[in-house]
Symmetry: C2
Subunit: 210 residues, 2 copies
DNA sequence: CGTCACATTGATGCCTCTCAAAGCTTGTGG
DNA sequence: CCACAAGCTTTGAGAGGCATCAATGTGACG
């Protein structure tokens, strides 16, 4: 039997693991129409999903029939990780737009992780990383001021030179920041006028001041 | 050698595991004064912390010397989980108030999880749960309206009867919701006047409408 | 009985949302 | 090659809502 990993340093390279590569698991491609459900509350868990394109809402329906959105998954995102640890889903997953996803079967993942604790370790590391990321996003959202929110975001996501590579549109950034796109455009214009940032095509630079 | 857990159902009871109980690890009690640092960016990771009382800020200092708060830990909270998977901290932990904490040594946790993959499994499950929780908090914070924010929170956290047991003060709730306490008080008063909720000492009830 | 923190309500101003319109870029089809 | 459509980007005007400052009430605790 394979021994568990001995040193944590062995595992650091797996910080951003790819389930498919690391686990040798072949996911199942799934397409759903807008309004269709990927899974339902209380149905048996089948696995972890990765959203390739589209938009999927995770909604819990309360006893009174009201709906509370728990999360809105964005392309590239993994969701329903907790299904590995529970027998049933505890929310609905509803496609808001026509969406393509990958399903990583629970049984295959569980078997792989039982046989190879180092994979489980890598998976746990990935989740720890995601917790950090979520917490910092939460911290950014605590700020009311659009200006501070944008600056905080850039401080967290720019490299040593202050550069931030834009992925997707500014509308998407506005969405991630929890701002309307109008506010974001205005704020960026203000920041540039004040010399706090420079705007280039597809990237931003955060200017440091003494 | 102990075999890894065979069925996921075996592990569901460990959804909220207590590191000390489950791992048989004795944490080290630590006290820090306001302004003192629990650990520093780039210093070697020593373990996971649990905040008992006080307040601790996790701050990343950028190349330009600016500070970006990544997270503010609250009493009862576990933080620096990622230290298990990394050799060095990548942010500062600074006590904002005089604080008491527990340190769960990294080496002991790693050894325990290497010897008993079921503990690692439980730990991973706990983190998956926390990811869910963080995502739903993020979703609540996306809402601008104080009214909707409070209602969303109650829908997510009330039981089948619509009851929510208050823990701590309403000021703390306001903080969690990202509102000022004045706004929260006003919003609660409005909701009660409109019949959406009932207020009792130490609890709230969310009223359902047909 | 005094202090301290929480709870509550009032008045005011600013900031972001909202609605609106126009410029700009890209892609598509005739 | 041009015309048109669609989506992103940008700026404008107005309004509503939450933060802020302020004051008072209330309860716990020594």
């Amino acid at each position: 039997m394979r021994t568990p990993t001995k040193k944590s340093t062995d595992l650091r390279s797996a910080a951003h693991l790819d389930l498919e590569d690391a686990f040798g698991i072949h996911p199942k491609a799934i397409e759903v129409a807008a309004g269709a459900h990927v899974f339902r509350q209380r149905s048996a868990t089948v696995g972890v999903f990765k959203l390739l394109s589209g938009k999927v809402r995770l909604v819990r329906t309360t006893a009174g029939g009201e709906q509370a959105t728990m999360h809105t998954a964005r392309p590239g995102e993994l969701f329903a990780e907790a299904s590995l640890f529970a027998a049933r889903y505890h929310c609905d997953a509803e496609a808001v737009e026509p969406s393509r996803l990958l399903l990583y079967p629970k049984t295959a993942l569980q078997r792989a992780m039982q046989e190879r604790p180092d994979l489980l370790w890598a998976f746990a590391g990935e989740m720890a990383h995601r917790i950090q990321s979520l917490r910092s996003r939460l911290e950014v959202q605590r700020t009311r001021s659009a200006r501070e929110r944008v600056l905080q975001f850039l401080r967290l996501h720019s490299d040593a030179a202050g550069l931030w590579q834009q992925e997707g549109t500014l509308k998407h950034l506005a969405d991630e920041l929890g701002l309307t796109h109008e506010s974001l455009y205005r704020t960026l214009a203000d920041l540039e006028r004040d010399g706090e940032i420079d705007r280039m095509v597809g990237r931003l630079r955060l200017n440091r001041r003494a």
